[in-house]
Amino acid sequence: MNEIKHPEYIPVHVMLILGAIFMLFPFIWMVSTSFKSQDEILSTTKDIVLLPDSIRPEFFNGPEEKERIERKKADAKRWEEEQAKPESERDRKVRKPFQWLDNYTYALTAQPFYRFFLNTIFVTITVTSVSLFFASLAAYAFAFFKFPLKDTIFMMILGTMMLPQQALLIPNYIFLSKIHWVNTYMALTVPWLASAYAVFFLRQFFMQLPRDLFDAAVIDGCTRFQFYYKIALPLCKPPMVTLAIFTFLSNWNAFVWPLIVTNDTNLRVIQVGLSYFSSEAGTRWGPLMAASTMTILPLVIMYFLAQKQFVESQATSGMKE
């Protein structure tokens, strides 16, 4: 073992583990809170209680927790008794006891989150696929074609990356409102279908493909578009995957632009929905943490899958020497 041979690295591990706990703990706390009842969340105990009442072994319970659980059991019994009565005689003040998934069902019913998810998935997939398609077309033209003004147009595309984003929000909003695109899916997608960065990034990869390959294919009767989608594109799969992941992430997390160009609930994307839910739910931390968990989860899953794919895409590059 490396660590045993080099005990001087033990403090390094200690510091890194402390740092890792600091980075992860807010997420652990978020997930843990999302399964807690309001009673548990508003407890002023000084201890950090990670496991919610519903799954905590009895062994860990202090006096406060024991009392709360007893109260919960009594409430549950009351509720059952009321349910046994005919509907007209029930005491309406007796509420259904907290179930472990209640925060999630509350969040999902308080706002049409399923709709927000569908909107986000639609926008994200559209923008990712179309912008990569457009960018790869342009990058291909820059790498293989000869035409007048090539360098000028390329410099112009690069130049747009340096423009201040906050200065663009307002004129774009004015423009969209003039063509009646505010509160449409067009507003959420079309301005993002061109990515200067993607053009630049893919051009670098297309330039590495041997020019002879292109010339030989054209002499053999391959059209330019055939060369693009049958040869050039498959060879550039690794950078395409990298770009797709970045585009996906930034669109999933996009907030300011959708906040400005939509106010119709049916068009809200998940981040905007979350911000509205945050001001509406106030101190209902359980449902808020449940909503945050649901927003983050798809990304974290993708991240773990994509990590592997990054490594694989490095290993299986198309060109063999």
Binding site: L168, L169, I174, S278, M289, S292
Partner: protein
């Protein structure tokens, strides 16, 4: 070689989608907004030409200066803090130890998550009565602090959360920079009896300076554009407007008070400030950068 000289007119077809969208949504709007910044316009009525009035008014607007000052405070604290922490962690990760992949994965997680979701989580962590932070501080006998409702603490609380969120990104870049430093330099230094601090001061720091410069420049630009976390954590500019930053003020002027011309004038002044900062970095600070 016939196709060496032949012009591929079809190329324009390939470029058209990207160029059309970029021109419509990135190039023309810049000129358009420069023009609108000389008008007074609420988008409904007809625009009224007011010359440089929006700019003049801006320099007599105490809230604008307050927002600039808050933004500078945000940048001056968050940028060095983030660089210091991420460089330290990257140096630790650069040791020949096991589990680097696991650490790197964990430190990177906040980067991929959305700022809105983590802002909600930190709102709860900063809660005066039930928040995690006050809970932990109470172990040491500290009185509860009303973090986001306290004019002295609201901005530092947002800075702390933002540094946490962006740390992983800088660590990855620093790690790449550190791996480019030749190992034999350290071996030679050790043979000469250099202490760890001396190794850092005379090898790591100068050879890492291009990376540090890159991160410094990028995060300075980024911190002048801070918006989402401020919007989510301290609505309406925070206690005594202590977290009113420029982009948030600009957002309010444009999309809550519909003073588009004024907001655009602000956007251009902000752009000039960012540009001046970047230029200063490039001309002054880059002299201290050691390029091999």
């Amino acid at each position: 070689m016939p196709n060496k000289t032949k012009v591929d007119w079809g190329a324009y077809l390939y470029l058209m989608p990207v160029v059309a969208i970029l021109v419509a949504f990135h190039v023309l709007p810049i000129f358009y907004s420069l023009a609108v910044s000389f008008y007074e316009w609420d988008l409904i009525g007809s625009p009224e030409f007011v010359g440089a009035n929006n700019y003049k008014q801006l320099f007599h607007d105490p809230m604008f200066f307050k927002s600039i000052w808050n933004t500078i405070k945000y940048a001056v604290i968050s940028v060095p803090l983030s660089i210091l922490l991420s460089m330290g962690i990257a140096i630790l990760l650069n040791n020949p130890i096991k589990g680097i992949g696991v650490y790197r994965t964990i430190y990177f997680i906040p980067v991929i998550t959305s700022i809105n979701a983590v802002a909600i989580v930190w709102n709860f962590i900063y809660h005066p009565d039930f928040g995690l932070l006050n809970k932990i501080l109470s172990w040491f006998g500290t009185d509860p602090v009303a973090w986001l409702q306290d004019p002295d603490w609201a901005l530092p609380a947002i800075i702390f959360m933002s540094v946490w969120k962006g740390l992983g990104h800088n660590i990855i870049i620093f790690l790449a920079g550190l791996q480019n430093i030749p190992k034999h330099l350290y071996e030679a230094a050790r043979i000469d009896g250099a202490s760890r601090w001396q190794q850092f001061r005379h090898i790591t720091w100068p050879l890492l300076s291009p990376t540090t410069f890159f991160i410094f420049t990028m995060s300075t630009i980024g911190s002048f554009q801070v918006f989402s976390q401020v919007y989510m954590m301290t609505p309406r500019g925070g206690p005594l407007k202590s977290t009113m930053v420029v982009v948030y003020y600009l957002y309010r002027k444009a999309f809550e008070q519909f003073e588009f011309g004024y907001a655009l004038a602000m956007a251009f002044v902000l752009f000039m400030v960012i540009f001046a900062c970047t230029l200063f970095n490039k001309l002054y600070l880059e002299k201290k950068v050691h390029y091999s």
